[in-house]
């Protein structure tokens, strides 16, 4: 137990160290985010000392940008489930690595939404009144008490899931299914719950007809399914870009002439497998008879630094177990190449093509002088007849960090469907409001056309409408299979949802007031600074989380591997 604790604290310490390492762009980005956070903290200190009078809120519009952003961020936290569902329910393996990024995003989004609620409180010193068992908890009557439970539960659940998966990976152990799969399934249910509960915060208010509308819940879910995956698409493109090793001119992959075939090899023996078993304990369980059957297709190969074991795009059918040294696996996409893995003794590369018969998805280069066991597809299949080996190899295959275009396009189809549903639900709402045109349509009138000459929200909501329609048009057209266009569509969709579900829902719900007064709202300077500060803090957390998670997934940062140096990037 204490050894576990020691390992874990060492993991945390090394993660912190890793988070402070990077190139100048990393420092500039982190530094600017921290700067914005500090400005936000300063603005909040003013608000804390003077009261919420520093905000633009008033008696009539008592909820403003804080609650608007809170609502949006809860929707983003839903993003995790968007990625989890296809992976665990439909076995879409191209999204496997995304799950971690999605869950990390969910964690950060929940932290941000909790921060938005905290800054909205008039008495943050009394937050403990909301803690069940310690304070006085109005459960189940108050939807806000439900929100406290679901948001914190979701936060804990997701911290556990991504922490568990990353830590196991760091320790080089495959995750144990029943340790996390039940939580994954619970979090799918839970993610829907957090956003539905947040919608019910509004729907449950009888005095606010604009909110007291049963379509708000479904619209929240639909728009979350738009904004969440859209944010993940953009974040993953960023990750791809940052981890890409420079432009094509700078690449260090040697010429094709230095092919491995030029080098000598010898047939493998049982002794070689024994040597491999030191690094791959599961191999020790494989009886010698099975191993002997594998010997005919196996050879021991030695290669020098910089030599290529296999080429992306080739169609050979061999897999490589590393006996000694390290091998870098790189993929070239869109004229950039990215290190996707870094494998060491006991690990395997090239097994995907060997087993599936597809073309090589990446190039493997020796990082140091290496010694490997090369196996033909037939030999590898014989080895995998042993269940232990099968489990090890298959698990590692699916745990790879692979941000492929295919994965991004799978996310695109999620956004595609969701945005159509969202626009459809919006049209339902507009029909109900404007066709009947009863007194309850006043808020919608105010939002879309202004009321009594008050038009503060009109430019915003039309921006959102055009963003949503533009994003929908782009996503429906094949042109968005191009990643640049997809990025544009995602930005439009995110902006559209942010306005429509944040300011476009929270503010007009309070205008006109229950007594028919029209008092408008514009966030104050300090209020905006606080929001920017929270956003910056969230991005800071997400950046640091990715900074640690990516090397873990790539195998560069592990318990065995003391090397915490970042992946070299173009300087």
């Amino acid at each position: 137990m204490s050894a576990h604790l020691r390992d874990f604290s060492r993991f945390l310490w090394r993660s912190c160290r890793l988070a402070t390492e990077g190139d100048w762009r990393y420092y500039a980005w982190i530094g600017l985010l921290f700067l914005a956070t500090v400005l936000g903290v300063n603005a909040y200190a003013k608000q804390f000392a003077q009261g919420l009078a520093t905000s633009g809120m008033n008696d009539h519009v008592a909820w403003g940008v804080y609650i608007a952003n809170f609502t949006f961020m809860v929707g983003v936290a839903d993003a995790a489930v968007m990625l989890v569902i296809p992976v665990y329910l439909y076995k879409r393996e191209e999204l496997q690595d995304f799950v971690i990024f999605g869950i990390l995003l969910a964690v950060v989004a929940i932290l941000m939404s909790l921060a938005f609620v905290m800054v909205d409180l008039g008495r943050p010193d009394r937050f403990w009144h909301m803690i069940p068992g310690i304070g006085k908890f109005n459960f189940p009557a108050s939807l806000l008490s439900w929100d406290v439970i679901v948001l914190n539960g979701y936060l804990a659940m997701n911290i556990y899931i991504c922490g568990y998966l990353l830590y196991r990976r760091y320790r080089g152990q495959p995750p144990v299914g029943w340790h996390y799969i039940p939580w994954i399934f619970l979090s799918i249910f839970w993610a829907v719950a957090i956003h539905t509960v947040t919608a019910f915060l509004y729907v449950g208010l009888v005095g606010r007809p604009f909110w007291n509308n049963s379509i708000v819940g479904p619209r929240f879910i639909a728009s979350a399914f738009v904004s969440g995956p859209a944010i993940v698409i953009l974040a993953m493109q960023m990750v791809r870009r940052v981890t890409a090793s420079g432009s094509a001119t700078e690449r260090q992959i040697p010429n094709r002439e230095a092919h491995l075939a030029d080098h000598s090899s010898r047939p493998a023996t049982l002794e070689d497998f024994k040597a491999l078993a030191k690094f791959l304990p599961e191999l020790a369980h494989v009886p010698n008879e099975t191993l002997s059957k594998c010997l005919p297709g196996s050879a021991v190969v030695e290669a020098n630094e910089g030599e290529v074991l296999l080429w992306q795009g080739d169609t050979d059918r061999e897999a490589f177990f590393i006996l000694d040294g390290r091998v870098v696996v790189k993929r070239e996409e869109n004229q950039r190449e990215r290190v996707i893995r870094n494998v060491g003794p006991g690990e395997i590369c090239g097994e995907i093509s060997a087993l599936t018969g597809t073309a090589r998805t990446a190039t493997a280069v020796a990082e140091s002088p290496v010694k490997v066991i090369r196996m033909t597809a037939t030999a590898l299949r014989r080895l995998l007849q042993h269940p232990k080996m099968n489990q090890v190899v298959r698990t590692r295959m699916t745990e790879r960090l692979m941000i492929t275009d295919k994965a991004l396009l799978t996310l695109r189809s999620i956004v595609q469907v969701s945005i159509v549903v969202n626009v459809f639900l919006l049209m339902n709402e507009l029909f109900k409001e404007f066709y009947t045109d009863d007194l309850h349509a006043a808020s919608a009138h105010y939002l879309y056309f202004g009321l009594d000459g008050k038009t503060a929200l009109v430019p915003w909501i039309w921006t959102a409408v055009f963003c949503n329609l533009g994003a929908m048009a782009l996503l429906m057209l094949p042109v968005s299979r191009s990643l640049k266009v997809l990025d544009l569509a995602c930005v439009l969709a995110i902006v559209g949802v942010w306005i429509e579900k944040g300011m476009g829902l929270v503010v007009p719900g309070q205008i006109p007031s229950p007594l028919g007064e029209i008092v408008e709202y514009t966030p104050s300077f300090d209020e905006s600074l606080i929001c920017i500060g929270i956003w910056a803090f969230g991005l800071l957390c997400y950046t640091v989380a990715l900074r640690v998670a990516i090397p873990i997934l790539q195998g560069r940062f592990s318990a065995k591997n003391g090397d915490t140096k970042p992946i070299p990037t173009a300087g």
């Binding site: 420092y27 009539h60 008592a62 909820w63 409180l121 909301m130 806000l144 007594l515």
Partner: protein, 309 residues
């Protein structure tokens, strides 16, 4: 990755120093960013931080709290106040009736309420909103709350004061996440100003625009403080909490009429115990055609409007 002129060790040492300087200055800036907290006066201390919900105070603790509040009023406003915690009376359920035929929209009730209940003068907090309605409609959006003619009533208008309706099915009580607001047995919905966290969910929930938030520290001139105070009623409120009309709990629980009714020059306002069949409000509910505002909201208010003719 270092220049040929310097050793990698020296370069990495310099980078380390640069990192340390950035980190240290960043943390210093973070500490300096908290400078506005200098202006905090008596926001909270450990004892205040840990105080209990009104309903969980023992009689001794309650007596002690009342003493502390009196002391604070003395410190802050230099006024000798008497703070009471009045219990609801048995067999009493308060109801308010307002005669729309008689009301002339003079807003005397608004200001009498402000004085009686020690409401903040700046920023202004008022529990009663008077709507000037054009004749021929009950569409609240056609109402005007900011009329200021030379004289009221004006032709073609009627006036409708709105304040807390003390709903039997109160949305504000339902939504409060920390039970800082609740309905007393005599029908008054009260707020524990020492327990409210200021989330303003109740403000959003109220269909009658009856709840007010203290956006900043309330200010009341010393000579206008009403020293007759109660814990759940008109004692001075701290910044960041919600308050509302409580039917002048400090008056009505000692058998007196609320201030808005006392001051009304036209007798439009009627208040009393609905459980007493001889009370004014019982007579009105029996003999007049009454209605409640936004009945479709299902809030079942204890505040009725009626017409004379």
């Amino acid at each position: 990755m270092s220049n040929s002129q310097e050793s990698p060790a020296r370069s990495s040492r310099r980078t380390f120093l640069a990192k340390s300087a950035a980190a240290a200055s960043g943390l210093a800036a973070m500490a300096a960013a908290l400078a506005p907290l200098r202006d905090l006066d008596d926001f909270t201390n450990v004892e205040e931080f840990l105080r209990k919900h009104y309903k969980e105070l023992t009689p001794d603790e309650l007596a002690q709290r009342l003493k502390i509040i009196e002391q604070k009023v003395k410190e802050r406003h230099d006024v000798e106040a008497e703070v009471k915690a009045l219990a609801p009376m048995d067999g009493v359920e308060f109801v308010y009736c307002l005669n729309l035929t008689r009301c002339i929209g003079c807003r005397k009730c608004v200001h009498a309420c402000v004085k009686e209940n020690n409401q903040s003068r700046s920023p202004e907090v008022q529990y009663i909103t008077v709507l000037k309605m054009p004749q021929g409609t009950f569409d609240l959006e056609k109402g005007d709350t900011e009329y200021q003619p030379a004289a009221v009533p004006e032709d073609g208008s009627f006036y409708m004061p709105v304040q807390c309706h003390q709903c039997r099915n109160a949305p504000c009580v339902q939504v409060c996440p920390v039970e800082a607001t609740w309905q007393e047995p005599d029908g008054i919905t009260v707020v524990d100003y020492d327990w409210c966290i200021g989330c303003r969910y109740c403000v959003a929930a109220c269909p009658y625009f009856a709840r007010r938030f203290n956006w900043k520290q309330p200010s009341i001139p010393k000579e206008e403080i009403n020293p007759d105070m109660s814990y759940l009623g008109n004692r001075p409120r701290p910044v960041g909490v919600v308050e509302k009309c409580h039917f002048c709990i400090q008056r009505t629980r000692t058998g007196r009429y609320p201030a808005c009714m006392e001051v009304c020059p036209t007798g439009s306002r009627k208040f009393g115990n609905i459980l007493d069949p001889e009370s004014e409000v019982s007579h009105i509910l029996r003999e007049k055609r009454v209605f409640v505002l936004k009945e479709e909201a299902g809030t079942q208010p204890r505040f009725y409007y009626y017409f004379d003719i």
